[in-house]
């Protein structure tokens, strides 16, 4: 048995799953970076 069956999990499911966690995380990181820039002002 192997883990990379090309006919298994559809790509859209992977994109959806990663987007579900990635978008909020990216938003939070962007907010934090914006605040961190105050260090250099």
């Amino acid at each position: 048995m192997t883990g990379a069956n090309q006919n298994g999990t559809p790509v859209w499911q992977l994109i959806l799953a990663w987007g579900f966690v990635g978008i909020p995380l990216a938003w939070g990181v962007a907010q934090t970076i914006a605040n961190s820039l105050k260090l250099f002002q």
């Binding site: 048995m1 192997t2 883990g3 990379a4 069956n5 006919n7 298994g8 999990t9 499911q13 992977l14 799953a17 990663w18 579900f20 966690v21 990635g22 909020p24 995380l25 938003w27 939070g28 990181v29 907010q31 934090t32 970076i33 605040n35 961190s36 820039l37 105050k38 260090l39 250099f40 002002q41």
Partner: protein
């Protein structure tokens, strides 16, 4: 009801059963890290709880604290209780989490975490502090502990070729959760607040509902690999390498090994060194560089440290897959020692850049220490009970959470009352932190492979399975056998 019967019976119990989470052939293992992140991003909110502290001191007075309002020391207990119950629940429920599978654990964590927020909202609404202690502190703390360890062994089983990277990704989510929670909470409070109302209770309710949905998505998409599954092209080592076992150690037997306690101290010392300065970074930067670092710049510095704390979790845990766990901790201890010793010099030469650089690297290793330890445990004790053993180890975090800040605060106060200038008040602390890392270095040096008398035997597997299926409250305890 045994797990097979539960799975067969359908309904909620069936849905939660481990057997229902076994992946079908072709399932992509890259679906599992997002499932883990669904949980860790939510429970990472704990790091941002302080945004509620000030508003909660004005629930009655609204614009300023009234005599009947709660004060900050009273509110400080909420976070402390939650962290205490994080460690305790991870230790107590570790085996239950491991044997019941990740879906049941994630579902339970979601119930506890969301329930904690709802109970706390009632506490805020009725102005009953003990209800918040029980809600966010006890119930939420149990959600933290169970949620924190729930995906660890699942990720390690899906990524036997890159266990550090896999667990690093999830634990990075715990660091990143505060990035989302902090601005989101502030925005929600601004939406719900009026001239006569602060809006904390409504914010708690919204967060509880949102986090429950988010964590449930994680519990729905999580899967465990089928027995015998391995990644394509991956060949497990035929023979155990010197520091990576292919055998398993029963959860409570791990407590009898010196390796468990050495790693416990390594984590405790690494976290103590990091957590002490993390909480004091803002004040420390302003006091060491008076006039050069403003309060606004200091806030930016704290934000930058949070980013390195999160990034370090992924970077160092992934690096450990290539250089080995023991070597990674050697880097933490040696580099950490050099940087802590260098910090007082950055103050004396007035180099803010060097000071910032030192602390960014230090804090990345603080995060890296958390993220690398599950893979270190896997190397020592095998994959079978690694989540449960990780749960036991998190008591080191609880301990460090008390010692670190106390050490920094106490030594600073002592120095200032004895006439040491504020700019130099942290020097002794830095040398003590460096000293702690020297102890950590020797603990790491003494880590050897676990003696084979602690390894589980095939008959142990059978006894455990029988006990679990019979619903026995306590499966047989395994004792180290003579070699």
């Amino acid at each position: 009801m045994d797990t097979t019967a539960q799975a067969a019976s359908g309904g909620l119990f069936g849905f939660l059963a481990r057997t229902r989470t076994i992946a079908k052939p072709g399932f992509s293992r890259w679906m599992v890290p997002p499932a883990a992140l669904c949980v860790h991003l939510c429970i990472g909110q704990a790091y941002a709880f302080s945004v509620f502290n000030l508003p909660m001191t004005k629930l009655i007075g609204i614009s300023k604290s009234a005599p009947n309002d709660w004060n900050l020391p009273e509110l400080g207990w909420i976070f402390s209780i939650a962290i205490f119950f994080l460690g305790m629940s991870a230790a107590v429920f570790g085996r239950w989490v491991e044997e019941g599978g990740p879906r049941r654990a994630m579902f339970t964590a979601a119930l506890c975490w969301a329930g904690g927020f709802i109970l706390s909202a009632i506490g805020v609404y009725t102005h009953t502090l003990w209800l918040i202690y029980i809600g966010y502190g006890v119930l939420g703390g149990c959600g933290l502990g169970i949620g924190y360890i729930s995906p660890v062994s699942t990720l390690i089983k899906w990524f036997p070729d890159r266990p550090g990277m896999a667990t690093g990704m999830a634990i990075m989510g715990f660091g990143g959760g505060a990035f989302i929670a902090s601005p989101l909470s502030v925005w929600l409070m601004s939406q719900f607040s009026t001239a006569t109302h602060v809006g904390v209770a409504e914010t708690f309710i919204v967060l509880g509902v949102v986090y429950f949905i988010f964590m449930m998505v994680g519990s729905i998409i999580v899967r465990v690999p089928a027995p015998g599954w391995k990644p394509e092209g991956y060949t497990p080592p035929a023979q155990a390498s010197k520091l990576i076992t292919t055998s398993d150690v029963f959860v409570y037997d791990s407590l009898k090994t010196p390796q468990f306690w050495l790693i416990w101290w390594i984590l405790c010392l690494n976290v103590t060194a990091g957590i002490g300065v993390l909480g004091q970074a803002s004040a420390m930067s302003q006091e060491m560089f008076p006039g050069k670092v403003t309060p606004v710049a200091a806030a930016g510095f704290v934000g930058l440290m949070s980013l390195f704390n999160m990034g370090g979790r992924f970077f160092w845990a992934s690096t450990s897959d290539y250089i080995g766990r023991k070597n990674t901790y050697f880097v933490f201890m040696v580099l950490g020692f050099l940087l802590y010793v260098a910090v007082p010099s950055t103050g004396s030469i007035g180099s803010v850049e060097a000071f910032v650089l030192c602390f960014l690297v230090i804090i990345s290793m603080y995060g890296g220490g958390f993220a690398t330890v599950p893979a270190y445990l896997r190397d020592m004790f095998g994959t079978r009970y690694v989540g449960a053993i990780h749960g036991l180890l998190l008591t080191a975090w609880s301990m460090a959470g008390i010692f670190g800040p106390v050490l920094v605060n106490y030594i600073r106060e002592y120095n200032i009352t004895h006439g040491v200038p504020k700019a130099e008040a942290y020097n002794v602390t830095m040398y003590i932190m460096a000293g702690l890392l020297v102890i950590g270095f020797f603990c790491n040096l003494f880590v050897r492979a676990v003696h084979h008398r602690f390894h589980m035997q095939p008959e142990d597997d059978g006894a455990l399975a029988t006990a679990a299926e019979a619903g026995a409250a306590m499966a047989p305890r395994f004792t180290g056998r003579p070699a």
